[in-house]
Amino acid sequence: MTQAAQNAGMQVDQSDVTGEAKAGPDPHYNFAYLDEQTKRMIRRAILKGVAIPGYQVPFASREMPMPYGWGTGGVQVTASIIGPDDVLKVIDQGADDTTNAVSIRQFFVRTTDVETTTHTEEASIIQTRHRIPEQNLSEDQILVYQVPIPEPLRFLEPRESETRKMHALGEYGLMHVKLYEDIATHGHIATTYAYPVKVNGHYIMDPSPTPKFDNPKMHRMPALQLFGAGREKRIYAIPPHTAVYSLDFEDHPFEVQQWEQSCEICGAGDTFLDEVVTDDQGGRMFVCSDSDHCNRHQEAAE
């Protein structure tokens, strides 16, 4: 999260995995790794997902050259939509320079040779693990989420046959009971991430483990949002400008996290902050989780 670390991330960004001068995508693979039949299958699933906002479309997820839990769903979605003219940004918990983001970015550089960026506004596709960029996105951008457990009801009802029926009937009382139990136990809704949302007034959806701080950004976002869960084999979507409502109660309205601190690097007081332990004497600092936004804010301040 330091400036040096971010600079290192940007250097990795510009180098090829092979260390050689780049001449197009690695010829040993099809463009974007996946074979064309797999892409067609995923592309059809995405179209249905867009047509039925918030509904989890089953798809024949493939094994990818990275383990489940490393974003295989998001990678398959990105691989099915990306073209040579795209500019790709990959973030992990908001940062461009963390392991997951760096390895996925390198994967796409190697298999597609697309231009990459760390600047949010320059990207046409942003693949993300667990954050939505602080900067507002535009209609020309697509946000691809990596999703571990797509089913918001899964920890309340383990049977797929039952959760599917619950979605079909709009039987979401159990989810409200869960939030109510939070209030009964803690006095407030204690769910802080993967906070359930209702999409377009119909399906309840898991926004992936993004902090609930990011939920309001999903509401009527101008960019298309695509969600891929590789292990669980589900794809879902939110079209641009779609109503996304975070579940709550009249007497306990939805609220996002707030901090007493500001970012210690850029001074921003309106961003999602990570608490970073700095030594073993109890030292800690709060810094922006969105590294690009933090850099921009510093540059603007200077």
Partner: protein
């Protein structure tokens, strides 16, 4: 097998010689066409221009052919309207390039190509999915002569900031009422992609229509 047939003699080689070419670069051109389709579906009623240079058998249009080449394969049963179904070069083209099974029963089709909007059957003859699996529903590729987003019916819903005007030429009477019924069955329903010569627009089931 196909190569061997093409080099051989007889009726088979003539049939294949008569089939128009598909994409020059299937990987990148289908990706580009898919992004057009995705933009159209994500922004209902918005007209998306497609830059295509495809020679296709009539009455297929380049946009329809490109959408078929992009989305269809052996997994997608295809229904052709009765007029298009009788045009041998057209069904040969789709069978050769996409390898998709052609079905007679519209209810079994994952995709349908309607070459002339006058041939469009009632929307409820196509698979609308089930409440538990609404994705198991048909996508209709409907060829129309002209698309217009400055007048016509008013669309609202996901993908539309406030409202979107939309008109497609030649749709049968009662079509918009069927679209309203299709929407009222949400999450079940069919999704439509309108294909003009070089432009497309989409109308998913999630869109409300005000006539």
């Amino acid at each position: 097998m196909i190569g061997a047939d093409a080099n051989g003699s007889g009726a088979d080689s003539n049939a294949i010689a008569a089939t128009s070419a598909g994409f020059d670069n299937p990987v990148l051109q289908s990706q580009a066409m898919y992004r057009n389709l995705l933009s159209a579906m994500a922004q209902p009623g918005r007209i998306i221009s497609c830059d295509l240079s495809l020679e296709v058998p009539l009455p297929l249009w380049p946009t329809t052919a490109a959408a078929a080449l992009t989305l269809l394969d052996f997994d997608t049963p295809l229904w052709l309207d009765p007029v298009a179904a009788t045009v041998l070069p057209l069904s040969d083209y789709l069978r050769f390039h996409c390898g998709c099974p052609l079905v007679q029963a519209s209810g079994n089709a994952a995709f349908a190509i309607i070459s002339d909007p006058a041939e469009l059957p009632p929307l409820n003859v196509f698979a609308a999915g089930t409440d538990e699996y609404p994705d198991r529903s048909a996508t209709l590729l409907i060829q129309v002569e002209r698309l217009d987003d400055s007048r016509g019916v008013i669309l609202r819903g996901p993908g539309i900031e406030s409202k979107q005007c939309f008109q497609a030429k030649g749709l049968p009477s009662g079509f918009w009422q069927q679209v309203q019924e299709n929407h009222s069955g949400f999450p079940q329903g069919v999704d439509m992609i309108f294909c003009a010569q070089d432009r497309i627009a989409a109308l998913p089931r999630s869109t409300q229509v005000e006539v």
